[in-house]
């Protein structure tokens, strides 16, 4: 028992140290900067924040998130149903395609919508700078969250439960509202909380599509920091935003605790079936076609505009990426940005994987109160916005060793953002390795370490690979944190795209498009690979 405990402490220690150094300390520094500027409590930044339009910005942040969440649910639920209950040709490919927007870097999403409804946009009218552009981009971005979370559970719900309700006299609609909907509620709650959280902390999309008028807390933190150099006020905003996010997370956690129902789930293959008649085929097509237009339209327009320069169709913009461009005072070298992104992503993946695997094994194998707390603790970076993390790095990491100017900060920030994804992918698989398999191995003569290597590792390896893929994709597209800590020599692709967009001229706009396409293709390819090798959630055993 004591050796077991020692192993736990060692396994939990490194993730905790990592969180302490690169999460707790930066957050603590934000508190210090916002509330104790000059070493003493000082309400001045707070007062200035209240006077400086904070209530308006907070209100806008809140209602645009609520509206985005509602709209996403409305648009995505029919899709979730169709994917869960019907088999149709091309389902696999379509599901993978529907996931792509979610993993696209926010900067790319913003750029794609700009290509569609921005200056010279394909639709002929401009919506950038309005709430509609933001809502559309948020639905586009979060569609997959609802499809995966709700559709995922839906596809495993036993249809016989609904059939039982029908036989007990409930009509089609009543059996849906009395049986299916309550059973889906955990997934619905999870999906809405996630979408709300993502849109509440939305940064890249709003920075690009919100114009000068629409600002969320995140955007305001960035503006105060980089344009007005008002760190104490930015810190106050970051604090308010952290409190709000924590409140949402706590509410969600409480809800989950109260609501957990043991469900008898069935393998998805047994639930879905071919549409049987023209009405069902019509339902499938009528749901999938508009969805396809929504999800494929913006990226398609992005690609086409990246290929269409002043001199007609061609690769001009891509060729222009080969030459460093002067954007204002800053020199942006696109090729260097590509190299930086690849290197940072590789490093961030390694760190996130190593720390995440250790943390996951603690969560999966040590149940009880301590395990749950550890679990919640590790999810904190996920709940904290990337902007807060970037801002925290900026204000914190100067002493004892000055890391602010070091390139190491960027992959570390990315690893921090990506680690929860690794943990989330690996923990369920670790837990699904049945205790009896370990016991069987033990009775066959395998000592504990060997049991882990022979039984757990082979089953977990695939999940770990998928987690690594996620980490890689997250790092490639990370913008919120990087925007604060990237220097000219450490510019990443998303930051370069944003800088190009900020400069006048068709060439810079085109470069942004071209680079967005490259980033989109790389990310989509990564995700396609993950999807191919993703471990089956309800297994073959």
């Amino acid at each position: 028992m004591t050796r077991r405990r020692l192993a736990t402490v060692l396994l939990a220690g490194l993730p905790l140290a990592f969180l302490l150094a690169f999460f707790a300390w930066p957050v603590g520094s934000i508190v210090a900067t916002g509330l104790f500027p000059g070493g003493r409590f000082d309400p001045d930044p707070f007062r200035r924040a209240l006077g400086g339009g904070l209530p308006g910005i907070a209100w806008f942040t809140l209602w645009q998130a609520a509206a985005s969440t509602g709209l996403t649910l409305l648009v995505a639920l029919p899709g979730a149903y169709v994917f869960a209950r019907y088999d149709f040709p091309g389902k696999r490919v379509l599901r993978a395609l529907a996931t792509v927007p979610f993993v696209l870097p926010t900067v790319v999403v913003g750029t794609a919508f700009l290509a569609l409804i921005g200056p010279g946009g394909l639709l002929g009218f401009r919506l950038d700078g309005t709430i509609w552009a933001i809502l559309a981009a948020h639905v586009f971005f979060n569609y997959a969250v609802v499809l995966r979370t709700v559709g995922g559970l839906w596809s495993h719900l036993d249809p016989r439960l609904e059939e039982a309700a029908r036989l007990l006299g409930a009509g089609r609609w009543r059996s849906f509202t009395t049986v299916t909907l309550p059973l889906l509620r955990p997934a619905l709650a999870a999906a809405s909380s996630l979408v709300f959280l993502f849109t509440f902390t939305s940064f890249g999309v709003i920075l690009i599509l919100g114009g000068t008028g629409l600002r969320t807390l995140e955007v305001e933190i960035y503006r105060r920091t980089t344009m007005l150099f008002d760190l104490p006020l930015a810190a106050v905003l970051a604090l308010i935003q952290m409190v709000a996010v924590t409140a949402v997370l706590l509410a969600y956690a409480r809800y989950q605790e109260r609501r957990s129902i043991e469900q008898s789930l069935r393998p998805a293959g047994e639930v879905a079936r071919r549409p049987r008649n023209w009405r069902e085929w019509g339902l499938v097509a009528g749901t999938l076609l508009p969805t396809g237009a929504l999800l494929l339209g913006p990226p398609a327009v992005l690609v086409s505009r990246s290929l269409h320069g002043e001199g007609g169709w061609g690769l001009d913009f891509y060729r222009a990426l080969g030459q460093p461009g002067r954007t204002g005072a800053r020199l942006v070298d696109p090729l260097q940005a590509v190299g930086n992104s690849a290197g940072f992503a590789a490093l961030a993946t390694l760190v996130a994987l190593a720390v995440g695997l250790m943390a996951a094994s603690v969560i999966a194998y040590r149940r009880g109160r301590a395990g749950r707390w550890f679990d919640a603790l590790l999810m904190l970076p996920l709940g904290t916005s990337a902007v807060t993390i970037g801002f925290g790095f900026l204000v914190a990491l100067d002493a004892p060793l000055d890391l602010r100017a070091s390139w190491v900060l960027i992959p570390l920030a990315h690893a921090l953002v990506a680690m929860p994804f690794v943990v989330r992918t690996v923990v369920p698989v670790m837990r699904s390795v049945q205790t009896r398999l370990r016991e069987a191995a033990a009775t066959l003569g395998a000592p504990p370490g060997r049991v882990w290597r022979e039984i757990d590792l082979p089953m977990v390896a695939r999940a770990a690979a998928a987690g690594a893929g996620f980490a890689f994709a997250v790092s490639l597209g990370e913008f919120g944190a990087t925007a604060f800590i990237a220097r000219p020599a450490t510019t990443t692709m998303p930051v370069a795209i944003f800088r190009f967009l900020g400069q006048p001229g068709g060439l810079n706009f085109g470069r942004a498009m071209a680079m967005s396409v490259i980033l989109m293709v790389v990310t989509a390819a990564t995700v396609a690979l993950i999807d191919r090798y993703r471990p089956p959630t309800l297994g073959e055993f």
């Binding site: 398999l437 016991e439 033990a442 066959l444 504990p448 073959e540």
Partner: protein, 336 residues
């Protein structure tokens, strides 16, 4: 030789094992027979080292096993749902224990082939575990446990999840296999046919206690008490007063086997001991009858008590009947 001494395991307020004692001699097959949740699986897990005892000891050849972890006990365990490793094929599942012993690949393959042949699964080495039928999975699980040649083989309802015909066939095969190998085994089941068919001795367990340990014949013919009798499906327990070779009961006079002392007693009358006889001394009324193929299972009310009888022909419900009792089918009950 395995000795379980006063083993006690508690889960919170629930006592799963309650000072249970049992021994298994070398080469002996002992069946632990009991209803579900009687503690029999906990007993098996405790012997395998997967469950710590709260009190009591488990000894192998006289030495205490409490400090020996499962992987050093050298016991094989066949799980109820087999617990085959889904990421390994049949051959690698069977070779697993041999690999843990550090055997080389050639030797492992030879041994796996041999033991798979013994369970009639030759040539299935490269099959994926997920593609096996229930009976095949059971054989592979058995082969996997047997391959490292365990000192003691523990079987946890290994046929429990299979359908009835397959179960009956495999019971016979398993008996031959265990006898042929001369392996020491402890076999947990809730099915008396399995227990009687396989074991040299049977331990009837309920509420974490061993109610009776004996040969199948002893247990069947002389159940130690009413609980054992009821678990064996024998429900005619009559309070009686014995006098001069005959007993008076509420249902009527019952003949007694020789050697029973005079005075108050509790008698077990087997359903098969009854026959219809117009001169019989038991008078009753048929309350219900159910056709069972080899006869009718009939409930008869006699003198205010219900008796269960198996009869080749039976009157309809509501009709009167006179019964005779074969003294061979009557035995005294001594325990609770």
């Amino acid at each position: 030789m395995l000795e379980v001494q006063e083993a006690t395991v508690r889960f919170g307020g629930l006592t799963a094992l309650d000072r249970l004692s049992l021994s298994v001699g070398d080469g002996e097959v002992v069946a632990v027979l009991g209803p579900s949740a009687s503690g029999k699986t906990t007993l098996l897990r405790a012997i395998a080292g997967l469950q710590a005892l709260d009190e009591g000891r488990i000894l192998w050849d006289g030495s205490d096993l409490s400090v020996v972890p499962p992987h050093r006990r050298g016991f094989g365990l066949v799980f109820q749902d087999f617990a085959l490793f889904p990421h390994l094929d049949v051959g690698r599942n069977v070779e697993f224990g041999l690999r843990m012993q550090g055997l080389g690949p050639a030797e492992r393959r030879r041994r796996a082939e041999e033991v798979l042949g013994r369970v009639e699964m030759s040539g299935m080495e490269r099959r994926r575990v997920a593609t096996l039928s229930g009976g095949q999975a059971q054989r592979v699980a058995l082969a996997r446990a047997l391959a490292p040649e365990p000192r003691l083989l523990l079987l946890d309802e290994p046929l429990g999840s299979l359908d009835r015909t397959l179960r009956e066939r495999l019971t016979g095969e398993l008996r031959h296999l265990l006898a042929g190998l001369g392996v020491t085994a402890l076999y947990v089941t809730h099915d008396q046919q399995e227990a009687f068919g396989l074991a040299d001795r049977v331990a009837v367990v309920d509420h974490g206690r061993a109610l009776q340990v004996g040969t199948p014949e002893e247990v069947w013919h002389f159940p130690a008490g009413e609980r054992v009798a009821r678990f064996l499906g024998l429900r005619n327990v009559l309070e009686a007063v014995v006098e001069g070779g005959r007993a008076r009961t509420a249902a009527g006079p019952v003949p007694t086997p020789p050697g029973i002392a005079s005075g108050p007693a509790r008698l077990l009358v087997r359903p098969s001991a009854f026959s219809i006889d117009p001169t019989g001394e038991i008078e009753g009324v048929v309350r219900s009858r159910v056709f069972r193929g080899n006869g009718y299972s009939v409930e008869i009310e006699a003198g205010g008590t219900m008796i269960e009888a198996i009869l080749p022909r039976a009157p309809r419900a509501g009709e009167p009947v006179r019964l005779r009792i074969d003294p061979e089918g009557v035995s005294p009950l001594n325990g609770p």
